[in-house]
Symmetry: C2
Subunit: 239 residues, 2 copies
DNA sequence: GAGTGGTCTAGACCACGCA
DNA sequence: GCGTGGTCTAGACCACTCT
């Protein structure tokens, strides 16, 4: 049936179309997609082919299906979605999402390392968010977050930044964080770490660097989290 | 069709049967399974149901399918399989598998923390493997690996332990590591770290604790890796 | 050519949520 | 009772591998 080298199976084409439409916001997070039958009719493929694609997108946490109700675009607000990207836990395993404090934001020119991480050209401006994060009311993490100004227009005019920024990216800027690359290393607390986190000189801290990627694969956020390692660990399950 | 609460879909039952058979070694790693058609006939289900299961097991890296050839039990020797559990990289992303040196093994009674991690009862004995791992010929990681003696009989009689232990577990003991839980934290180099890795006092190191799980979900290995953090990072992709 | 997996279709029936 | 997703089937045809 096919001897062209650029062949893509039908389900792959349907997959690409749906991802593109979701990325473009054809359906907003939380909204319902047309039913399997409708999608199949519209795209001129069978029930089973559409189903294969919807199942795959559900496995990737991009869609959410509920029997009897419908298929919905996943929201970053939901607990399970949050835990995909937040891996800080107490020793032993209990995961948690720390609350944010002392949040500051400013716009400034990008630096070389930021342009590399975020694949920016020229001297594009960025927003820099700094914040402390608290566990049980005690400072536990220092975070610096870098965002391209072009993707987050007037971000600094928003009054209160929420604790879970990815919901904000999604709801206010139409950017869904779909994947992330993280690099972890150990370091010694700097003076700023010591004063912000209440550590003694020489204390080791866990440094987590993260590049977050949008649905399109484009890097949209670079973040560095400096974690006090006596109370917290980074927990991950590999399967 | 069904109103019993203990209902499991057909494909789930087929899945469980196949996982159990693979775990029991009905087909050894690298061996071919019966064809889809054969499996469907034997189990009295349709082609499509078998296919759904085989696709799932392939996605979980438990099977490997090759068009025109057949379906095979995955081996831990293969590059891709290795990289599922080895996340050490150079800063920037290039992954690597360090070579092992100064490998020592001894049998001894288990300790409390080891019995917890490995879900051992009583005073079951364990093997303790210690080794250095080298990057570019330089010591970079100190590792301690704890294994239940019961699961790895006469492990200490094996002459040379290979660099990639998981292949050994699979080929010599019939244990396939299918998943792992890891916890990362920062620490300060101990005296032993300093002398083994050539670090100065106070140097920060990255400590990775890992419990490896067999196909059955049973914990089979506990390992702690102490990584010098100036040359190496822990890299992970979340999606 | 025979045997394997890969793609795609058409349709049946069930379980769930809601009006 | 209707519309939704969830399960399962039967069968067609294609692409790949080996002999």
């Amino acid at each position: 049936m096919n001897d062209t080298p650029g062949f893509r199976p039908l389900y792959r084409q349907v997959y690409d179309i749906l991802v593109r439409k979701i990325a473009e916001g054809a359906w907003k997070p939380g909204e319902m997609l047309p039913s399997e039958q409708m999608l199949a009719r519209e795209m001129g493929v069978s029930h089973g082919t559409v189903r294969k694609v919807l199942d795959a997108l559900t496995a990737e946490n991009l869609l959410l299906r509920r029997q009897g109700k419908g298929t919905f675009v996943a929201e970053h607000d939901q607990d399970r979605a949050l835990f995909r990207f937040f891996h800080i836990a107490r020793p032993g395993g209990e995961r948690l999402v720390p609350e944010a404090a002392k949040v500051r934001i400013k716009a400034r020119p990008s630096r070389v390392v930021e342009r590399e991480k975020l694949e920016l050209r020229g001297r594009d401006a960025v927003f820099e968010i700094t914040r402390l994060r608290l566990i049980d009311g005690e400072p536990a993490i220092r975070e610096t977050i870098i965002l391209p100004e072009r993707l987050f227009p007037r971000l600094d005019r928003i009054g209160d930044l929420p604790n879970t920024l990815y919901s904000l990216y999604q709801s206010k800027f139409g950017i869904t964080v779909a994947a992330a690359r993280e690099e972890l290393r150990a370091a010694t607390a700097t003076r700023e770490d010591q004063s912000s986190l209440g550590l003694k000189p020489g204390h080791p801290i866990l440094v987590i660097g993260r590049v977050a990627l949008a649905l399109t694969g484009q890097p949209v956020e670079w973040r560095e989290s400096r974690v006090r390692s006596d109370r917290l660990v980074y927990a991950v399950t590999l399967q």
